[in-house]
């Protein structure tokens, strides 16, 4: 195990496990499938409440995802819970063929994504998952920013009955979403209005983008902040409005800069409303360090986001 995150805020896994148990109370179709990850996926309470509905296949991710497809074939609604790097990296072909191409209502829950496992290193980091999953058919790719959005996205996923990949964060985050805002696929949330520059962020980076906007305000720069939790499909309208109404877009994600959120935004605006952009994220395997050190290392800090946005405006 990596060290406990002692920073303030909420671990979205807690909200996830509570919500899963709540949903399972009223919906007997819901089952959890995991890979010896009862602890790391916070499934202890679920197992206690629904011992027959927790399917722990052991350390075997390909089988885990295939089994979920078989369970869905029978009418069940599997939530597949596994550390994001192993779920997406080890079982990518099962995700493609058995879940998305076969079109089963399965929620793939990538636990502790990004660099949450810190010192455990790049084998345990999941920074490629967004690029990988975003390329598969019509798989919905969702990165909630806080516990409430995590819960809301889970409720949405049960009703949507379609293949979804959802990141479930381990790194603590504060609540950032307005109260009562229900998750909808393909809809982003403008968390802060602004007219000079736009910061589009997901997951752990949303709170950092908000802090960067505060700093920019001190410099007289008005920054719009968008939480683009629905990475695939993107909220095209909200992103294009930002491209038209502000002078540049900075994307910030705890993921590889090749193929992630920044790429998605660039694909959109470069074709519909060419806009200056900066893509902030991770560009290589990380050195040793905990998540907060690695955020600093890769420049994913409010100060550096603000600096990047300021430079972007000066590039005009």
């Amino acid at each position: 195990m990596s060290k406990e995150d002692s920073s303030s805020g909420f671990d979205c896994r807690q909200a996830f496990s509570e919500e899963l148990a709540t949903l399972a109370q009223t919906d007997p179709r819901i089952v959890a499938v995991c890979n010896d990850s009862v602890g790391s996926s916070n499934l202890g309470a679920f197992r206690k409440a629904f011992p027959d509905r927790l399917i722990n296949v052991g350390i075997a991710e390909q089988n885990m995802v295939g089994v979920a497809a078989g369970l869905a074939n029978a009418g069940l609604r599997p939530f597949v819970c596994a550390a994001a790097p192993f779920l997406t990296g080890r079982a990518l072909e099962q995700i493609k063929a058995d879940v998305v191409y076969s079109d089963f209502p399965i929620v793939l829950c990538g636990m502790s994504p990004g660099m949450a496992y810190g010192e455990l290193g790049p084998t345990h980091h999941s920074i490629e998952d967004i690029a990988w999953t975003r390329a598969i058919g019509d798989l919905a790719v969702i990165v909630p920013a806080d516990p409430e959005e995590t819960r809301s996205a889970m409720r949405w996923a049960v009703n949507a009955a379609r293949p979804c990949y959802m990141r479930i964060g381990r790194t603590k985050v504060p609540a950032v979403m307005p109260e009562g805002r229900a998750f909808e696929l393909g809809r982003a949330t403008v968390l802060r209005p602004g007219s000079d520059v736009t910061l589009v962020a997901i997951g752990t980076m949303v709170t950092r983008a908000l802090a960067a906007a505060d700093q920019l305000a001190g410099e007289g720069i008005s920054a719009r902040v968008i939480n683009a939790a629905s990475v695939q499909p993107l909220d095209e309208q909200t992103i294009l409005a930002a491209a038209r109404e502000t002078r540049g877009i900075v994307t910030i994600e705890e993921a590889m800069v090749r193929g992630g959120l920044g790429s998605a935004v660039a694909e959109l605006v470069s074709q519909q409303h060419p806009t200056l952009m900066r893509i902030m994220g991770i560009n290589d395997f990380a050195p040793t360090g905990n998540a907060s050190f690695l955020f600093e290392y890769f420049g994913l800090t409010p100060a550096n986001i603000a600096r990047t946005a300021g430079e972007l405006l000066r590039a005009h």
């Binding site: 509905r53 075997a60 089994v67 497809a69 078989g70 074939n73 029978a74 072909e93 099962q94």
Partner: protein, 304 residues
């Protein structure tokens, strides 16, 4: 003209009343028959399916003919004598689940599904045509009777384990049958699934290995030896049977058994290209397309 052909080929597949009635009549005849009488019934159906496979691949100009012919007797035995299914209701919740993990043998599966009334046999002419639901590998959203999309190897057994696990959780009596290629067993995912099926005592699950001993480019023995194959399944906690995969008697005997408390592995020894003398055991017939003269000769050999 081309657009018209595509529109015809792309039409959705729906249950065919004529084929369905014929299949029901055959199933009733099968149920009423003695064990000895059942053998010629299945042989006749299998001959028909083999001819249909040759014709389908001939028209499409592609297919995996060798494996189609090795797995035919297994498929015919399942669909004509074993599976509890209703082709008029492919989504019937209580149906037995059948998964062809070796999805490249789609022509054999489509032929059997059409003969069971899931769709009209005439639609086999659309196999691999532009926009056809009958893709080179089966798609459950397009082909009634297909439970999960297969094609990449090593996917069917894990999904079958999921179906059998669901039956266990939901306390349902349906059974799950997965047909695997032997070369396919080189994929590690099968052994992840095998281990877990035994752990859960999934007695309702049967894996049938089409043991034709050839893979795409060479024999399994020369590529990545599978033997001792029966010992492997047994060591993984399965009830293991080794049979002649072209003997309807042996197939019916093992597939008709009530579920035990272990998953069941049936290693069905088969001949790649079975039924067509010049294709049998020929590695080149993995996906070679026969010439017109070869088609004629093959159909002649497969006459009643």
């Amino acid at each position: 003209m081309q657009a018209q052909q595509q529109a015809t080929a792309s039409a959705a597949l729906v249950s065919d009343p004529v084929a369905l009635a014929l299949w029901r009549a055959r199933r009733e005849g099968f149920e009423a028959a003695t064990s000895a009488q059942r053998i010629p019934l299945l042989r006749s159906s299998a001959n028909h399916i083999r001819r249909q496979i040759i014709a389908t691949i001939d028209r499409a100009g592609l297919g995996h003919i060798g494996g189609d012919l090795s797995v035919t007797d297994i498929l015919v035995t399942l669909f004509e004598g074993v599976l509890r299914i209703d082709p008029a209701q492919p989504a019937w919740e209580q149906r037995d689940r059948f998964i062809l993990s070796k999805g490249h043998c789609a022509a054999a599966l489509y032929s059997v599904l059409a003969s069971s009334g899931y769709f009209a046999p005439a639609r086999l002419a659309d196999f691999a045509a532009p926009l056809s639901p009958l893709n080179g590998h089966p798609n459950r959203r397009k082909v009634p009777g297909v439970e999960t999309n297969t094609g990449p190897l090593g996917h069917g057994l894990p999904v079958g384990v999921g179906c059998a696990t669901a039956a266990q959780i939901m306390r349902q009596p349906w059974r799950t049958y997965v047909v695997l290629g032997d070369g396919e067993l080189q994929e590690g995912s099968n052994w992840e699934a095998a281990m877990y099926a035994a752990q859960c005592r999934l007695g309702s699950l049967t894996a049938i290995v089409d043991r034709n001993r050839l893979q795409q480019g060479a024999s399994t023995a020369d590529t990545n030896e599978l033997e001792p194959l029966a010992d492997k399944w047994t060591a993984f906690g399965w009830e293991t049977h080794v049979i002649d995969g072209h003997s309807y008697d042996e197939l019916l005997n093992v597939l008709g058994r009530a579920p035990g408390d272990k998953p069941r592995a049936v290693i069905a020894n088969t001949i790649k290209g079975k039924g067509v003398s010049f294709m049998e055991n020929g590695v080149e017939w993995h996906h070679k397309v026969p010439s017109a003269a070869q088609v004629e000769a093959a159909i002649k050999e497969l006459a009643e």
